[in-house]
Amino acid sequence: MDYLAHLLVVVLIYASLTVSLDLMIGHTGILTFGHASFYGIGAYATAILTVYAGLDWFSAMVLAFVVGALAAALVGIPTLRLGGDYFILALFGFSLIVISLIVNMEWLTNGPFGIRGVPRPSLGPLVVQSGAGILAFTAFVVALIYFVHWRFVTSPMKAALQAIRDDESVAMALGIDVVRTKIIVFTLGGGFAALSGALAAFYFRFVTSNSYGLTTIILLWAMLFVGGNCSLAGSLVGPAVLIFFPEVFRFIGGPGWDIGNIQEAMYGLLLILLMLFRPQGLVGQRVGLRS
């Protein structure tokens, strides 16, 4: 039962990452490699603020959101005003060096050793200790994140973002400030990714640079496209499928099988096959990936 709770927490955290990623990629057409980096920035910010600066969990979480948003704004403002390809290349580079930065700024991040001892959330004297408790907490925050995104995509915002995704020039001709809107969406995305990072920090109580590099961004993209981009349901289905399905393989496969690399290979192959045969994923619309 505990292991199931663990998987559920993991699925929820990834779902929150996927839904915020979807707002950028699926709705607005911002092909960002940066999401795992802001996730990491949020996780580290939470850890640093609670463990080193002694802040309470709630303030740390809020500040993590702000830090993630700020970082995204700093990266997004110079890069989003240029053409899509420049942005893609810049964010690809960014995703590679954030790890480098985390590892090298030892005075702040404890380098490759990571930071331990992140506290669990608490309400006065009540500390979330049990598996069920942290699951409930995570589910609550993730539900809030989903609520916010649900409000976004059931408002005029959805069509405006899709206009940018489908035809930027026409969007401009309709009076939409494309660059500014993209920057705002990207900033929000960074903030929400950082918030997911806070959740991860609270759950695992330990942050290390391993989880925020290219492997994770590939996993997020795979989750997004398996579930179906431009879809709230898809952002839940994708992580569920990609977390629960490999669990089946845990029981197959002999000793010495490098599960990590097999999974990596799977995700890569999955992305290729999805683009070829089912770009809309499991439950998404046929969105934009075929002209």
């Binding site: 005029p156 915002m157 489908d166 035809d167 309709l174 009076g175 939409i176 705002i184 929000l188």
Partner: protein, 259 residues
């Protein structure tokens, strides 16, 4: 008639090619002005400069007396100029109705308002939908409003893109070769629509058009561009006379290519 749009001596060079050469013309309010000329004459480049997609190398463009050259396209759009493109370029995955609603700028597009909503946001959205439905009705697309825009025929998409441009109630509409690819029936409807816009709704239209019958019959003014320069500008009858000269100078094939 007052001048709504004043294009004064704009030029644009692409590498070695001078696409627009010191072009100047005015567009009077409440009338249709047609921009004609052979292919490659610089008409679309001029359009792009007027609507902000290109910055002129030199010259000024004023809308209602205010300079707009160098402004971003969305800024010019918000000042009451709408435009269409050579292809309909509807948003394929949105419904017909959403395609038009997205032409209306509203508060609910911004994240904070989308989250909090409120009476004003809802009211704006409702008004936008009503305006969209009205315009769709006027171009006979109301019944198909919930279908995906990609399901429409070319001609219907053309009307959809025009509806999308009109929903924000612009003062001036730039139409880039709107009659291309339309069948006879749609063609007639489009001409009627343009005349209706000017006569009943007091809109101003700047039109790039190759069909000389349309140009001559509905334009109040014709501007002839050849190889980037404005060669003649005036009432259709005046320019027609001039066109014969151009035709003779450059050869009939240049004019034929324009058809």
């Amino acid at each position: 008639m007052s001048v709504l749009l004043d294009v004064a001596g704009i030029s644009k060079r692409f590498g070695g090619l001078l696409a627009v050469d010191n072009a100047a013309f005015t567009v009077e309010a409440g009338a249709i002005t047609s921009l004609i000329g052979p292919n490659g004459a610089g008409k679309t480049t001029a359009f792009n400069m007027v609507s902000g997609f290109l910055t002129p190398d030199g010259g000024k463009i004023t809308l209602r007396g205010e300079p707009i050259e160098g402004l971003q396209p969305h800024q010019i759009a918000l000042r009451g100029m709408a435009r269409t493109f050579q292809d309909p370029r509807v948003f394929p995955e949105m419904s017909v109705l959403d395609n038009v609603i997205v032409g209306v700028r509203q508060k609910g597009e911004r994240p904070l308002w989308a989250l909090l909503r409120g009476a004003e946001v809802d009211a704006q959205w409702k008004r936008a939908r009503e305006k969209a439905e009205a315009i769709l009705a006027s171009v006979s697309l109301f019944e198909r409003r919930h279908e995906q825009a990609s399901a429409l025929s070319f001609g219907e998409q053309r009307f959809l893109s025009i509806a999308r441009a009109l929903v924000s109630e612009p003062d001036i509409v730039l139409l880039d070769e709107p009659t291309v690819g339309l069948d006879r029936g749609s063609f007639g409807k489009l001409v009627d629509l343009m005349q209706h816009l000017v006569a009943q709704e007091k809109k101003t239209i700047l039109l790039i058009e190759h069909n000389m019958d349309v140009v001559m019959s509905i334009s109040a003014k014709v501007v002839l561009m050849v190889q980037g320069a404005v060669v003649a500008s005036g009432a259709p009858s005046q320019v027609r006379a001039h066109r014969s000269m151009v035709e003779a100078y450059l050869g009939k094939r240049h004019v034929a290519q324009g058809q």
